[in-house]
Subunit: 231 residues, 2 copies
DNA sequence: GCAAAAGTGTTAGAATTACACCCATGC
DNA sequence: GCATGGGTGTAATTCTAACACTTTTGC
């Protein structure tokens, strides 16, 4: 089996999500060159000889967000996309990574890079998508994965600063799932699920009203029974 | 961005699972050539110019099982593996696919291809694994995915023939999860969860005792609340 | 009849849901 | 005081878990 046959360009594409102004947003870059010139695209980089896929995704996250220091974040592999015609220039297999980041803000916006509302990008049918290549499908997969994992993992904390209140965490769920959750029942569920939250002992009044306990993300990988987003 | 830079060999690796003699088994092939000569390896094929990743996995499943006609099965993408040193011959990025198949049997065994018990392959520590490359890790990921998806999808049916009884389905859960389930509660849960089972109207006595209803896999993609494997 | 597996009923406990209600701060 | 959000109590309902019991076949 000679290894110089059947090669392809291999890229890492990034679905970097954050929450901005009560909206789930994704980092996109405007394409400067054909194909899909002036369309928005997910941040992407070809793999180098030394880096593994995960490291490549970390590097691209740092570059794409344009922040000197990466904020709290979570990265995991999403899926591989390898349709022979997904890039008109040739065979490109992309490994998509899903990143959830906190601390994004609109002042990282430039004419060619921004946080775009996911709902705006996905509402168009695939044929009229403002996104280049198959990036609409990749984004949809990333959003679906995120919605699902909030049910049974403490991942929502990745959208919050280092320490956060139960309401701030609930707000993440409400934005990502697009639902309203009962604050009292959510509080009880979050604080009583082992490994969901780690108490810090501090409090804050930044949300107004009575001071709220501050937590860190807990160490559970998954929990049972899960939270439910189904009514 | 010239596309002829940074290419890699791209392969599809297959974690094909089945249930044989009350054991979860995976299809493996003995390597005839270095590296890892005489080790077992997951079925694998380099992508061709025309096929997409899913089609490549289907082709490899047909080849690896050696069956003229593929039995009932389910295939989904598992993950991509791209460590630069995972193959000593050069950079190979593998997209692993997970296949669950029914109707496997020991008469497809040859000296170089067989269904091997997953427990035997995973019980050794990684350093002493009988599996080549990073295939132990890929197999472990595939088994973990399978165990998880049995909780909230009707996927267990993919291990059964076209039509099957509730006990046969329960047997799949017991083997894959390595637990004992109460037949009466399982029966109630399976038959009352919408989309889990589709009645056929037929019965069978092949398991002995009172005739049992035969079902097909239902059309639900996921269900809530899930089955639980936690005690 | 007897063994074996299918399937139903029942009950205690756990989890979810929908609220009423009190608490601690800023103004 | 009063508005605001934080947090606890509680009762109705639903889900789970354990197991007694009945049904329908083969032998």
């Amino acid at each position: 089996m000679p290894l110089d046959t059947a090669t392809a360009a291999v890229a890492v594409d990034l679905v970097a999500l954050t929450i901005l102004d009560d909206e789930l947003c994704v980092r996109v870059a405007k394409r400067q060159t054909p194909p899909f010139r002036d369309h928005w695209a997910l941040p992407s980089r070809l793999i180098s000889e030394e880096e593994d896929l995960f490291a490549t995704a970390e590097l691209e996250l740092a570059r794409a967000t344009g922040l000197a220091e990466l904020p709290v974040h979570h990265i995991e592999q999403l899926a591989a996309y390898g349709d022979p015609r997904r890039d008109p220039r040739g065979r490109v297999v992309s490994i998509a990574y899903l990143a959830l980041v906190a601390g994004a803000s609109t002042w990282t916006h430039t004419p060619s890079r921004r946080w775009a509302a996911v709902s705006d990008l996905l509402e168009q049918p695939a044929a009229a998508s403002p996104l280049a290549f198959d990036h609409r499908e990749i984004l949809a997969d990333g959003v679906a994965r995120t919605r699902a994992k909030l049910e049974y993992t403490p991942l929502a904390g990745a959208f919050c600063p280092e320490t956060f209140t139960v309401s701030e965490l609930r707000h993440v769920y409400e934005v990502v799932w697009g639902v309203h959750l009962d604050p009292r029942n959510f509080h009880r569920k979050a604080t009583s699920t082992p490994g969901f939250l780690a108490p810090t002992g501090s409090k804050t009044t930044r949300d107004g009203g009575r001071p709220a306990e501050l937590y860190r993300t807990g160490d559970a990988l998954t929990f049972h029974p899960p939270l439910t987003r189904h009514i």
